[in-house]
């Protein structure tokens, strides 16, 4: 026998910690159907029963306006749920009970967890659990989720309730007073005319939502054959209630619910001590008028360094490990298609996926830590004014800044933004923030065409351009896609709490593994496709392979000293690869497509090698740093400088042969900044925005915007007299 328990509660009530404590590490993380709200479920065994627990998104209400609330409301109403477990924050009981008044209307058995009783006790709030049980009509178990106190009792209770052996769940509902109850009864009668409507949710619950003027409830009614009768009754009810009670339905119902909660709290809990709480003392510093921003910047700098500087160490190991593997395979396997697939396709593809994992895990761990301590809400509080001007939310700030390390985890970090609109806009503009992979391209290009000082200036300018564009696009997208009022900024500043290390570790693991399984496949497939385009048909040319082998043997026969032989062999390899790539499908595509880029990269139509840019940029779709290594192959010049020289052979070749001028080089940098997010970012956008459409949109607007700005760069530069 298996039963399903829905875990419901406000944000910050310790629900997820409790969920971890109940189910251990056996979780399944996915998305709710059709939306990008995370669905976490797990199971535990108790007294021979298997109990499935589903962690609902934390909500203040079930009014089904936000994605989170809709998911929670729909799941709670579904027949799948056998028992509702409502987690209450003991130190913030009144507001937490508002949701309970709605849960009690759903007609399912409800049990309660009074969580964080230690916090409440510290604030001088003592709660009479027995009295609370009586007034709520359901069993109440006090717990301290982060110390697993009360968990065995809770498990035992859930097993008893699941077997249906307890009579402790009585149905208690809020009494809305004579007038409202009268109208509710009339509405219920009309609703019950449609049996199908009646079966989907308790009529009283639907009637309440109608009186609250809930759009989702009205939509449901509109689909019913009884919709006319129900609407007529609703109009009559409004006409009666508003003048009679001096407020609209939504206000009246909220007042009665809070009335119930307030009365209950007065009955069962003592008032908190006067005086400043530890949270207030911390906030006196952390959100201080002058200190708040410097402290925030300091914390941000710390998170950034830990993620991208510390995270770079394992990242380098992984990259070097795969490089060594690929070199080893290349040296020991016969040259040919399969070897190339392995050495140039599969191994770099897998590497391109795994290389992200350490940074994702570290950054997500930091963000979970900030979120769980309660600081994330303060960060949003501090930065909201600035971000609001940009058409974004205070919580968008951290993803945007982290984007300058790597866009992939930055987009994942946007999960902390509750409103779907704000989150989507943040996700869509983050790719404009210049990441560290693009920096490698700038360094090569700027180092070739500018003096060191001007090169540094150009590189800094790229970063500012990226941020500026993100801000601008944020505003444009806000007004183009989401006309109408922006979502309200009504954000709780929860008490500071010490996070549970285990929860943070579980969170890091989940983010890392979700990335590997979901985004990994996309990146891998894309990398293989790009390999195919840039190697065929040359790689299958037996003659070329034979020639290459002969040349190698000829060099080997010379019996040169070790280092010189190696150099010669490397030059041969580069020449062979160059021959393949420069005749590949990608090269043909490049020749066909180069007129498109002519206005920005070849305005005088004098560059014979302009098509090579297209190959490099196409390869850069896999990961931006690949632009450099691809250039090395197509220009047949190594990207590593010889000892004692400032420019690498690739840079010399670019300077002397590519035909790029400082101005078109700058345009190339601008285009590289914007033209498309890398595959990892695209895969992450697809996952976090919930559709390929948004991922495609990001690529498309990037290409258009990148082209446009590169063109402006060239046009403005020429107007100012630069070549």
């Amino acid at each position: 026998m298996s039963l399903t328990i829905a875990l419901a509660g406000n944000p910050n009530c310790g629900k997820t910690t409790l969920f971890n404590a109940l189910t251990g590490a056996r979780h399944h993380v996915g998305n709710w159907p059709g939306v990008t709200v995370e669905r976490r479920s797990g199971a535990f065994e108790q007294d021979g029963l298997s109990l499935e627990v589903v962690d609902l998104p934390g909500t203040y209400s079930l009014a089904a306006r936000s994605e989170d609330e809709r998911v929670a409301a729909q799941f709670l109403a579904s027949p799948e749920v056998d028992l509702v477990l409502n987690v209450l924050d003991a130190s913030n009981l009144e507001r937490n009970l508002y949701l309970s008044t709605q849960l009690l209307e759903l007609g399912k058995p409800v049990a309660f967890v009074l969580n964080m009783v230690d916090d409440a006790e510290n604030r001088g709030v003592h709660i009479d659990v027995a009295a609370l049980e009586t007034l709520l009509g359901g069993p109440v178990i006090p717990t301290v989720g982060n110390r697993a106190q009360g968990i065995p009792e809770l498990k035992a209770l859930l097993a008893v309730l699941a077997r249906g052996e307890s009579t402790r769940c009585r149905r208690i509902t809020v009494d809305y007073g004579h007038d409202i109850e009268g109208e509710l009864a009339k509405l219920e009668t009309e609703i019950c005319r449609d049996e199908k409507l009646e079966a989907t949710m308790p009529p009283r619950w639907l009637a309440l939502q109608l009186l609250e003027n809930n759009a989702e409830a009205k939509r449901r009614v509109a689909e019913s054959h009884a919709s006319e009768a129900i609407s007529q009754q609703l109009t009559k009810s409004f006409a009666f209630l508003e003048p009679h009670l001096g407020a609209d339905g939504a206000t009246l119902i909220a007042e009665r619910r809070y009335g119930f909660a307030h009365g209950l709290v007065k009955e069962v809990a003592t008032a908190p001590d006067e005086g400043r709480t530890p949270t207030a003392r911390l906030d006196a510093v952390l959100t201080h008028r002058w200190l708040g921003i410097p402290i925030f910047v300091g914390i941000l700098a710390l998170v950034y360094s830990v993620s991208f500087i510390l995270g770079k160490i394992p990242q380098d190991w992984i990259a070097e490990g795969f490089k060594a593997l690929s070199d080893f395979a290349g040296a020991h396997l016969p040259a040919g298609e399969l070897t190339s697939l392995l050495v140039d396709g599969v191994i770099p593809g897998v590497s391109a996926v795994i290389v992200f994992v350490p940074v994702i895990m570290i950054l997500m761990g930091c963000i979970a830590f900030l979120e769980d301590t309660g600081y994330m809400a303060r960060a949003a509080f501090i930065m909201d004014r600035l971000m609001h001007v940009m058409g974004l939310h205070g919580k968008s700030f951290i993803p945007l800044i982290m984007g300058s390390g790597c866009n992939v985890p930055a987009i994942q970090a946007a999960r902390t933004i509750e409103s779907r609109q704000d989150r989507l806009i943040t996700i869509l503009v983050t790719p404009l923030v210049s990441c560290s992979a693009r920096l490698q391209v700038y360094i090569v290009i700027a180092g070739t065409f500018f003096t060191p000082f001007k090169a540094a200036l150009a590189i800094i300018a790229m970063h500012f351009l990226g941020l500026g564009l993100a801000v601008l696009m944020g505003r444009v997208l806000r007004s183009a896609l989401f006309a109408g009022p922006s979502s309200p900024f009504v954000m709780e500043l929860p008490p500071y709490r010490l996070p549970v290390l285990k929860a943070t570790l579980i969170h890091m693991w989940e983010k890392g593994s979700v990335f590997l399984t979901r985004a990994g496949t996309t990146i891998f497939a894309g990398a293989t496709l790009i390999w195919f385009l840039s190697r065929y048909p040359g790689i299958a040319n037996q003659e070329w392979t034979a020639q290459y082998q002969e040349q190698r043997q000829a060099v080997a026969a010379l019996k040169l000293p070790g280092a010189e032989e190696e150099d010669r062999l490397r030059a041969l390899q580069l020449a062979h690869e160059s021959r393949i790539v420069n005749t590949s499908l990608a090269a043909r595509l490049g020749q066909k497509a180069s007129p498109l880029l002519r206005p920005i990269l070849d305005p005088d139509h004098k560059r014979a090698e302009a098509w090579k840019d297209v190959i490099a940029l196409t390869a850069g779709f896999v990961a931006k740093e690949i632009v450099v290594s691809t250039m090395a192959v197509i220009h047949q010049a190594s990207d590593e400088p010889k000892p004692g020289e400032r420019l690498s052979p690739l840079q010399v070749s670019l300077r002397d042969n590519s035909g790029l001028s400082p101005l078109t080089a700058l345009a190339f940098m601008v285009f590289t900044l914007i033209y498309t997010p890398c595959l990892g970012t695209v895969a992450m956008i697809r996952r976090e925005a919930g559709s390929w459409g948004w991922a495609g949109f990001t690529i498309a607007y990037g290409l258009v915007l990148g082209w446009g700005l590169a063109w402006v760069t060239v046009a403005a530069g020429r107007a100012l007299g630069f070549a």
């Binding site: 009014a63 306006r65 507001r95 206000t251 909220a254 009022p485 900024f489 709780e492």
Partner: protein
């Protein structure tokens, strides 16, 4: 009893206390504010403004909440001593 005049919540200064008269916003914002406890007669205290002057932090129903000026301007309150 003399009633103080009704003013928008955004006019209260840090340290001021108030009592909610009415939420004037419409639609989604209205419902959200009601759910968060801005019902008639609810007591609140303005804690502080964010370093850049907006949003504001206030205490209502025993918990801390932040609101932008856009939202706090459409909540009518009495100032309470």
């Amino acid at each position: 009893m003399t009633q103080n005049p009704s003013i928008p919540l955004s006019d209260l200064q840090p340290g001021d206390q108030g009592e909610v008269i009415q939420v004037q916003a419409q639609g989604q914002i209205r419902q959200r504010l009601l759910e968060m406890g801005f019902i008639r007669g609810a007591r609140l205290r303005v804690e502080k403004l964010a370093p850049l002057g907006d949003p504001m932090e206030l205490v209502i129903k025993g918990y801390h909440l932040s609101l932008r000026r856009d939202e706090s301007a459409c909540i009518l309150v009495h100032r309470v001593a």
